[in-house]
């Protein structure tokens, strides 16, 4: 005859499940400790400098903006300003560069930095670097009275040196009068133009003009596409 299982023979077995409970509670404590340790690691490993991203984005915005230290127009950087940009200029235009290590690179070449950057946040901006060049055009105005500039330009320098007996009264740019003198134009004049349209300069004169009497200088910028990278390490 089988004896009933639990409460049988050995009365020393009355509370045998208590040690098991004790072991169970110990195990539970261990698990809780593990959980707390994981939370601790997560907190300690959390991103400690959210400002780093903000500073990187803000500096990149400043350098690329039309009223910034490097750019002539929005996203168009002026080459001479880029060449003259250094650490003090960086700190002047971006005061947080004094606290964090900031590195500015253009076309994979560092143009300014305020400290060594090991890791950190990078922001890349697409820009065009423009180097200003002026080209001169010497039109032959013996037969025609107008000359079209081959490139759109924001301004032109018109130099008029008329021979004796010739008077140039008026210069028009696309039907807009830009130079006018009743007694004749003679000399070098800066003429503002509209860069959004092709300009035709028309000369109103009396008398003959040889080639070489009129020279026109205009802006012919050369632009190359580059990437501006700002790295900030807090």
């Amino acid at each position: 005859m089988t004896a009933p299982s639990r409460r049988s023979d050995n009365s020393a077995r009355a509370q045998t499940s208590l040690p098991a409970l004790g072991i169970a509670l110990v195990l539970l404590t261990v698990v809780t400790g593990l959980g707390v340790a994981m939370a601790d690691t997560a907190i300690a490993g959390a991103d400690r400098a959210p400002d780093e991203r903000r500073v990187a984005a803000a500096i990149a915005d400043r350098l690329v903006a039309a009223d910034g230290p490097l750019a002539a127009r929005s996203n168009v950087l002026n080459k001479s300003r880029v060449d003259g940009f250094d650490r003090s200029a960086l700190k002047r235009s971006a005061p947080p560069a004094s606290e964090y290590a900031v590195s500015v690179e253009l076309a994979d070449e560092e143009i300014a930095s305020s400290g060594t950057v090991h890791s950190g946040t990078r922001i890349s901006r697409l820009v065009v670097v423009e180097s200003l060049e002026t080209r001169t055009l010497t039109p032959d105005l013996a037969t025609t009275a107008a000359v079209t500039l081959p490139r759109r330009s924001a301004q032109a320098t018109v130099t008029i040196d008329p021979p004796a007996g010739t008077t140039v009264w008026t210069v028009r740019a696309n039907d807009r009068v830009v130079l006018h003198n009743r007694s004749g134009l003679n000399g070098s004049y800066e003429v503002p133009l509209v860069p959004y349209e092709t300009t035709e300069l028309r000369f109103q004169r009396a008398g003959r003009l040889e080639p070489g009497n009129v020279t026109i200088g205009y802006d012919a910028p050369r632009s190359t596409k580059e990437t501006l990278v700002v790295t900030v390490d807090a």
Partner: protein, 134 residues
Amino acid sequence: MRRAQLPLSLVEVALGTVLILGVALGFALGTPAPDRQGPQLDAYASDTAALLANDPPRHDGATRLQEVVANPEAFDREQDALSNRVARILPENVLFRVETPHGAVGTPTPQGVSTGTATVPTGRGSVRIIVWYA
């Protein structure tokens, strides 16, 4: 007869341990990483818009963008050149889609991918540039 017993509380605790550790590990490993690409993609999109607004047109108009939105014929004529130009502006691992009032240029936007957008208002409707990482 002596029969060993399995103390049930140990089994329960083992199950409880597994449950707690599972939940904790789920939090530790399972939450998706926050999206860090948004601001960079937005920067790419607005840079593309600024560079396109800076480009001289190929035939007529004030800027390249204005030329493209002028009328449907101009759009048909210019859309390939526009697509090539935007592909040259953006880095290689970035795909784009340019939506104009007369049609769209570029690859269709996939769902569930973080994108950056820039909208350029022109005189005849707005042009929307959407970029994302390939």
